[in-house]
């Protein structure tokens, strides 16, 4: 209540400023999304504005967000690789290896859950804290350095006005909360619906060549040469506008978090995966969760090798071989076992017969999911690259 006179005063002051008032009002965020795609769910306490997205872009690429100032979010999420890093397992700022492979952030606004296997992480604002402050493994390594982080932001002449523009209602806008909100807003702005497949689906019948079209038909349940209907079962896990069933959007009322075991490992009769990298099981302790991971979006999949949560498959061709067998056989070594027989394996993964032509067509289709604009769009690019 004590604030009312001050607010009134500010409003009057603002009114007195005439045209400059309109200029300082936050611009509306405009989504550039095809009609076939719903709007993403935006948290009520973090509306999108151009100023916030721009601040988030700088923070995403700023190495001041790591303790030793050697890494930014963009170190593991590189635009030219569809926001992945080309590594089997990500490497943090102190050299510690992450158990998992960096995931693309393209279209992450629609992720039903974040990271490879975590039911608790459903908001980008909260997820951002994991790489910043997490200790197991160390990524950006900022634990217990929140005050140092805020000092760096205040001392960098670039940032105080950017924070003020992004958070005009905050008296002291440079906070950890603002940092996570701005990074989340930038990430939500990184959209990728400009592939050849999107153009085909929008009605451009020249967008896909014949091989890509055949691959698309096989992907979406077509009959293979062996005469089996929906032989490849791809879209059951990788369907929908994300090419992942794990999707959420503004109008979604159901929980579409989705995790499944695809038979990569089978170390024992319980269907164990290598310790410390067992998917949902690492958080729940439920043996039925061993090896359950989120099916990632296949958009831009040609650029996101190596594949799987631990980068243990190098090429798309080998991925198809894995699914054709219905699981991976590892004959010797510490991870020996037949993933085909994993007791937790999804029941759709029973293997299939596939010809060389069908394989080539499916890969042609997967390659047609690449969105070239994503890789070069200046709105998503590293603002420090030119400095």
């Amino acid at each position: 209540m004590r604030n009312v006179p001050l607010i009134l005063f500010l409003i009057l002051l603002g009114a007195g400023c005439g045209s400059s008032d309109a200029a300082s009002a936050p611009e509306e965020w405009v989504w550039d999304i095809p009609d076939t795609v719903p709007l993403p769910r935006i948290p009520e306490d973090n509306p999108m504005t151009p100023a916030k997205v721009e601040l988030g872009r700088f923070l995403f690429y700023d190495k001041q967000l790591s303790a030793n100032q050697t890494q930014s979010c963009g170190s593991c999420h590189q635009q030219e690789l569809a926001f992945t890093d080309g590594l089997a397992r990500a490497e943090g700022s102190t050299g510690e290896l992450h158990p998992r492979s960096s995931m693309s952030i393209a279209n992450v606004a629609y992720a039903a859950s974040l990271t490879w296997a975590n039911e608790a992480l459903v908001r980008l604002e909260r997820q951002a804290l994991v790489p910043m402050f997490g200790e197991n493994p160390v990524e950006l390594g900022m634990a217990n350095m929140e005050n140092e982080l805020l000092r760096r932001m205040r001392d960098d002449p670039r940032y105080p006005p950017m924070f003020a523009d992004a958070f005009p209602d905050e008296a002291d806008p440079i906070t950890v909360d603002s940092i996570t909100k701005a990074i989340a807003a930038f990430q939500r702005s990184v959209l990728s619906f400009g592939s050849k497949v999107d153009r085909w689906q929008a009605g451009d019948r020249t967008a896909l060549n014949e091989s890509e079209q055949r691959g698309m038909a096989l992907f979406f349940g077509g009959t293979n040469e062996a005469g089996v209907e929906d032989a490849f079962e791809c879209f059951h896990c990788h369907g929908g506008f994300l090419f992942s069933q794990s999707s959420d959007d503004e109008g979604q009322v159901f929980d579409q978090k989705f995790f499944m075991n695809n038979g990569l490992y089978n170390l024992d009769e319980d269907g164990s995966y290598p310790a410390g990298n067992q998917g949902l099981y690492d958080l729940t302790g439920d043996p039925a969760d061993k090896g359950r991971f989120k099916p990632p979006s296949l958009r831009n999949v040609a650029l996101t090798a190596p594949y799987m949560h631990d980068g243990s498959i190098q090429t798309l061709e080998e991925v198809l071989d894995h699914y054709a067998r219905g699981g991976r056989l590892i004959e010797s070594g510490p991870n020996a076992g037949d993933g085909m027989l994993n007791p937790n394996k999804n029941s759709l993964l029973n293997g299939f017969q596939i010809t060389q032509q069908e394989k080539a067509d499916l890969i042609a289709f997967l390659n047609a999911l690449t969105d070239e604009d994503l890789l070069t769009n200046p709105a998503y690019s590293d603002p420090f690259a030119a400095e």
Partner: protein, 280 residues
């Protein structure tokens, strides 16, 4: 840092002043201070000291962090009923949680100030027992930590990949990936896209503590690190998992530690009540 010291100083003055007053300020309540002490077996805990004969392998560890949150603190009155302690809001206490902090910033992840007390008010009377939980209340545990008040705003106590806080944090050495550590909090938590919040956790992992004979004016709640690691082979580690126990239900190195906290682990009930806390 300066500001915190001044505030702590002010608190001390306030509590000294309150001692000078009669027990009940006329409103039927009295202030109460519950003291905690960190020990390792028979020795007091000192940040950065090395302690021997720990666990099943008589391991030696240089202990460099020792902190935990407590919640739901209740004192047992003369009738045998437990009454809640209404926490005094300060830098160490907020939203129903108190951070007990025995480390003095001997590593980069610590803080110089320490806290060894829970302070609050209870109905006027005398008390002879205590119970509490090691943890943070559910709502505060899963609220946005970026906007939480002290002591819930310490990123070293956040456990973001589990969507909550580390209820207990014990580290050794220089906190490298090869140093033994124990971090404990709720696991198996489920997030809700619509609200953005957490709906439930399959393993809440709040240690329940009841010390039936405890006089707040003369006794101390002792947290004994040697008791916590009793029977645990600290020099061994399940391959592929963090050294020590990062609270993961899939890390078998956690099993004896959970048992000593009276917590179920991987579907197995504990053999008895917790042995980490006792009365001195």
């Amino acid at each position: 840092m300066k500001r915190r010291e001044i505030m702590l100083g002010a608190l001390c003055v306030a509590s000294v002043a309150s001692l000078g007053c009669s027990d009940d300020g006329g409103d039927g309540t009295q202030e109460v201070t519950i003291r905690f002490a960190g020990v390792v077996g028979t020795e007091p805990f000192v940040c950065g000291e090395t302690y021997d004969n720990l666990g099943a392998d008589d391991s030696s560890l240089e202990i460099s962090d020792f902190r935990f949150y407590v919640q739901s603190v209740e004192l047992k009155n003369q009738s045998g009923d437990y009454v809640p302690v209404a926490l005094t809001e300060n830098d160490w206490q907020a939203e129903g949680a108190t951070l007990i902090d025995f480390e003095d910033g001997c590593t980069d992840l610590g803080t110089e100030p320490m806290n060894t007390t829970v302070t609050g008010t209870v109905p006027t009377g005398s008390y002879e027992g205590i119970r509490f939980e090691m943890g943070v209340p559910f709502e505060a545990n899963h609220d946005n930590p970026s906007t939480a008040p002290s002591p819930l705003n310490l990123t070293s106590m956040h456990w973001d990949w589990q969507g909550g806080f580390k209820f207990l944090r014990i580290d050794s050495g220089t906190l490298s990936p090869t140093d033994w550590r124990m971090h404990l909090g709720s696991t198996g938590c489920d997030g809700d896209q619509l609200s953005g919040g957490t709906t439930a956790c399959s393993a809440p992992n709040r240690t329940e503590v009841e010390l039936e004979s405890f006089a707040p004016e003369s006794d101390t709640v002792v947290a004994d690190l040697a008791a916590l690691v009793e029977g645990a082979a600290l020099d061994e580690n399940q391959s592929g998992t963090p050294v020590g126990c990062m609270g993961g239900p899939a890390d078998s190195d956690c099993a004896p530690l959970f048992n000593n906290l009276g917590l179920p682990f991987a579907g197995n009930a504990p053999s008895g009540a917790q042995i980490f806390f006792s009365v001195d």
